[in-house]
Symmetry: C2
DNA sequence: CAGATTGATTGCAGATTCTGAAATCACCGT
DNA sequence: ACGGTGATTTCAGAATCTGCAATCAATCTG
């Protein structure tokens, strides 16, 4: 639609990652990001709620997708299996963007502000899963606790996926983490 | 310690809670909080890293206390029991401040900014527990997963404690939540 | 007791984040 | 050609947060 070159969000994200990598998160201003992308500061805020959000593109859509996948999972599946299936369903997209994910992770690790936002996203993922599990008929407190631990297992799996020198798939590491979870839970 | 009236942090916290309750979080400025406490905006920032932090007094000390208690727990205790004991150890302090905790919770529930900070604190608690469990000899990934689920159970117990019309103790609700956790985990 | 020290508070300047409202711009259908 | 549409821009401004120097009163020191 528009005479403006498309991919505005993408250009802003790329500019942001470049600048954050060059000078660090705090030392780059939103105005600088926008300028590098050939846009203005105000346009940045038309696309992202705040400065941090530029590093979490599509997270809300991802969470919504997980919610729907869990809700729509076959009834006979156990809660954990339903969530694991939802996680692995679109995981090859991440496999195709492994390198970008690694760069992003370095940035998150280096700045407390960004880690705080990430933890909020993880918590939001957990709450979304909890809602979906309740919709499947799992009552509280099981829904809340199961959802929290699934979100934790997802974090664990993603961390191992990024750290794996063999470059195994995300789906593989997610399955392994859920297996570890079951093993660990038996000791509780 | 000084000619200035003591309890500066406490006065700022009370002023903040009052104003947040009256007009909401976004609609009160740091300058207003400081003025109501008889201080200046700059002094507020001498005591709190940012505007949100005024609603999380002593959280870092609390987390440090849990870390130490878990680390120092008797070796024969299971990880879950060690964490539960750490949680319940100082929980009567909260019982004595139940009403304040409820007011605080209402504020957190009403403002996404504040919930984000809370989730970050919960995550920090989880990471502290994970470190303590590793120090006790529990290897990863069990340490990470156990710590996450303990933090989740703590949240659950605290929520029930605040919602309980019978006003049962926090320790009681924490034990109940850990019991629910074990029960739920058996179904995984 | 005068003087130095200390620690908390203050004043001020300024960069930066984020918002609201109105204006601009070019594509698109009619 | 003309108006609608959606994205971008411009502008003004409030609020957050930081750095630095100054102030102030209590306490320590000789």
């Amino acid at each position: 639609m528009g005479r403006w070159p498309g991919g505005t969000q993408e250009r802003l994200q790329e500019a942001a990652i470049e600048l954050f990598t060059e000078r660090g998160y705090e030392r780059t201003t939103v105005a600088e990001i926008a300028t590098r992308a050939g846009l203005t500061e105000r346009t940045f805020y038309n696309h992202f709620a705040d400065k941090r959000e530029v590093l979490f593109p599509g997270q809300d859509a991802f969470i919504a997708g997980i919610r729907e996948a869990v809700t729509a999972a076959p009834e006979e599946k156990s809660p954990l299996d339903a969530v694991l299936a939802a996680f692995t369903a679109g995981s090859d997209w991440f496999d195709r963007h492994r390198e970008a994910a690694q760069r992003r992770r370095q940035l998150l690790d280096a700045h407390a502000d960004l880690r705080e936002r990430e933890r909020a996203k993880v918590a939001a993922l957990g709450e979304a899963i909890a809602g979906a599990l309740r919709a499947r008929g799992l009552p509280d407190p099981a829904a809340t606790l199961t959802a929290s631990v699934c979100a934790a297992a997802h974090q664990l799996g993603a961390a191992r996926w990024l750290a794996d020198p063999e470059e195994g798939t995300l789906a593989h590491h997610l399955r392994a983490s859920f297996e570890d979870l079951r093993r660990t839970a038996r000791t509780w």
